[in-house]
Amino acid sequence: MGAQPLLKIENLVKHFHVRLGAFGERAATVHALDDVSLDILEGETLSLVGESGCGKSTTGFTILNLHRATSGKVVYKGQDLTALDEKRMRPFRRDLQIVFQDPYSTLNPRMTVGEAIGEPIFFHKLATKAELEKKVTALLTDVGLPPRFASRYPHELSGGQRQRVVIARALACQPKFIVCDEAISALDVSIQAQIINLLLDLQEKYGLTYLFIAHDLAVVRHISTRVGVMYLGRLAELASRDALFETPLHPYTKALLSAVPETDPAHERSRKRQILEGDVPSPLAPPAGCRFHTRCPIAMEVCRRVVPKWKEARPGHLVACHAVNGE
């Protein structure tokens, strides 16, 4: 039983080199992603959650070879994508799509909505010229926009409308895998629900696989097959949705789950969240050992020195923590 891996990610590392100091005289390294290994299974929705800046977008970008990996592998159809230049990457681009976190910067301001959505269809020859308009119309309708929007320019749209154009564009070339980077967080709940339902329908129909990056844990719980939790560039925990929400093992996951707001004003005002002590350490100089040790309520001596191993604590439930015993 069990689905086949669509993508195998092995020890993936991404470091950014930046310059600091008033005149940029000091070089420094941002440890955005360190030693991440995971399989993304065919037909699943794997969600990635974790604090802002922990490396979720970097993971998505590096998997798609939009950022060049510092080291490690991403294997798709037997091919290590990290070894490909843009030209050799091209045949894979149609299969592997991304909905960026920042919709404005991804749409060409001089292209109408219809052109933006039609371009990948045209480029990959997925429709004749005559069919193109119909396709664009169908995609716009799917994301809850009136077909007339095809003639508008990106700046003539509201934030949430732009976001939906980017989603329609990613769906246009009938991909196998989509990285949805905060793809629905700029949308109101009703449209969010509509898009989630659409993504789920497409998954059912075409066996699409999603890497879903989101901070809204309620949404994540609704749509995920499995959930991965990141902290400061490393994976802390990865498990099936139910295992993660019901029996989280990692101390960071537990803290994260305690912070979800609810729509009850009185309760919300009086509630004490388990706000983590201490600041998030800088990825320019991540702590040695377990990166979470500076804020972990149960940190031990060993945590300061030794990086906890990425291990299977229970069947299918992976975790990196010295306090959790393997089976």
Partner: protein
């Protein structure tokens, strides 16, 4: 009594109407909105994507893009008229007494300027700080919004930051001059719950310390539950409901508000594969139906709804809860 009331009013918007120039003539996007914010009050503005939240906010600051203009209405801030104020005066208010957080960080941050300088600029020009003071304050502000290693990070360019960090830089810029009013447009969409909580606590703290007022534009009804005093619900450029926050969540009246609250996924829900959503799409500006703008999607729509526009009327004796809906009116009359 009357004068005491006007004094505590910080922002007062009356009949704000915004039009877009289209090939078929002007189309109304914001349709006669009334809004007010008292000193120290926090107002939540919610509504579906495209309902006119951002354009409302931009029009207050006279930052509307080409081909979009304020056709009618008045906006007073601290006793002064924002629409007739000279550009020079306005520049001092913008980013000074009124702090702004724009929805789209990548378009409002300068891509070729270090974020430390972008933070320091208003402090130097509007608050008369020295470079050194402004720099120290910039570091402090970044720390307050939870950006780790803020001494180093002020050197970063926007593209070197994560999406959520950019959003927090925007919040820091909005708060830099300790404004009397903070207008924040979807300021935390890219932030995870722990940092959202931190930002909410920071804003609450400043509200207490400085008596700052806040307009928080959002689609996240859960987040603002613990932050705002009052909520205004917009639909297709009009206010459809307006109530104190507890009242709105406990006793939503307008069918649109009810649909909105019912679509929120909750962590405590059993995981389900499909979510509730309000069927249909909102009308576009210039193509709004006659009568109630929500009628085509409303489960309670009656004949009158398709011909007449419901007015925003008080539904409680105290008058603090208002809704624009014929069904609500009818139910109250029947009771």
């Amino acid at each position: 009594m009357m004068s005491a009331k006007t004094e505590k009013r910080l922002l007062d918007v009356k009949g704000l109407t915004v039009e877009i120039e289209t090939r078929r003539g002007p189309a109304v996007v914001v349709d006669g909105i009334d809004l007010h914010v008292d000193k120290g009050e926090t107002l939540g503005v919610v509504g579906e994507s495209g309902c006119g939240k951002s354009l409302t906010m931009l029009s207050l600051m006279r930052l509307l893009p080409n081909k979009i203009r304020v056709a009618k209405g008045k906006a007073r801030f601290d006793g002064r008229d924002l629409q007739t104020m000279s550009n020079r005066e306005l520049r001092k208010v913008r980013g000074g007494d009124i702090g702004f957080v724009f929805q789209d960080p990548m378009t409002s941050l300068n891509p070729v300027m270090r974020i430390g300088d972008q933070l320091a600029e208003p402090l130097i020009y509007l608050r008369g700080m020295s470079r050194k003071q402004a720099r120290a304050r910039a570091v402090e502000l970044l720390r307050l919004v939870g950006i780790p290693g803020s001494e180093e990070r002020i050197q970063a360019y926007p593209h070197e930051l994560s999406g959520g960090m950019r959003q927090r830089v925007m919040i820091a810029i909005g708060l830099a001059c300790e404004p009397k009013l903070l207008i924040a447009d979807e300021p935390t969409t890219a932030l995870d719950v722990t940092i959202q909580a931190q930002i909410v606590d920071l804003v609450k703290g400043l509200r207490e310390k400085l008596g700052m007022s806040v307009v928080w534009i959002t689609h996240d009804l859960a987040l603002i539950a613990g932050l705002v005093d009052r909520v205004v619900v917009l639909y297709a450029g009009t206010v459809v409901e307006d109530a104190p926050v507890d009242e709105l969540y406990a006793n939503p009246q307008h069918p649109y508000t009810r649909g909105l609250l019912a679509s929120i996924p909750k962590l405590s829900d059993a995981p389900a594969s499909r979510l509730n959503s309000i069927g249909g799409t909102p009308p576009e500006p210039g193509r709004r139906p006659e009568g109630c703008p929500f009628a085509p999607r409303c489960p309670l729509a009656m004949d009158i709804c398709r011909t007449h526009v419901p007015k925003l009327e008080p539904i409680s004796a105290a008058g603090s809860h208002r809704a624009a809906c014929f069904a609500v009116e009818k139910a109250r009359e029947a009771a």
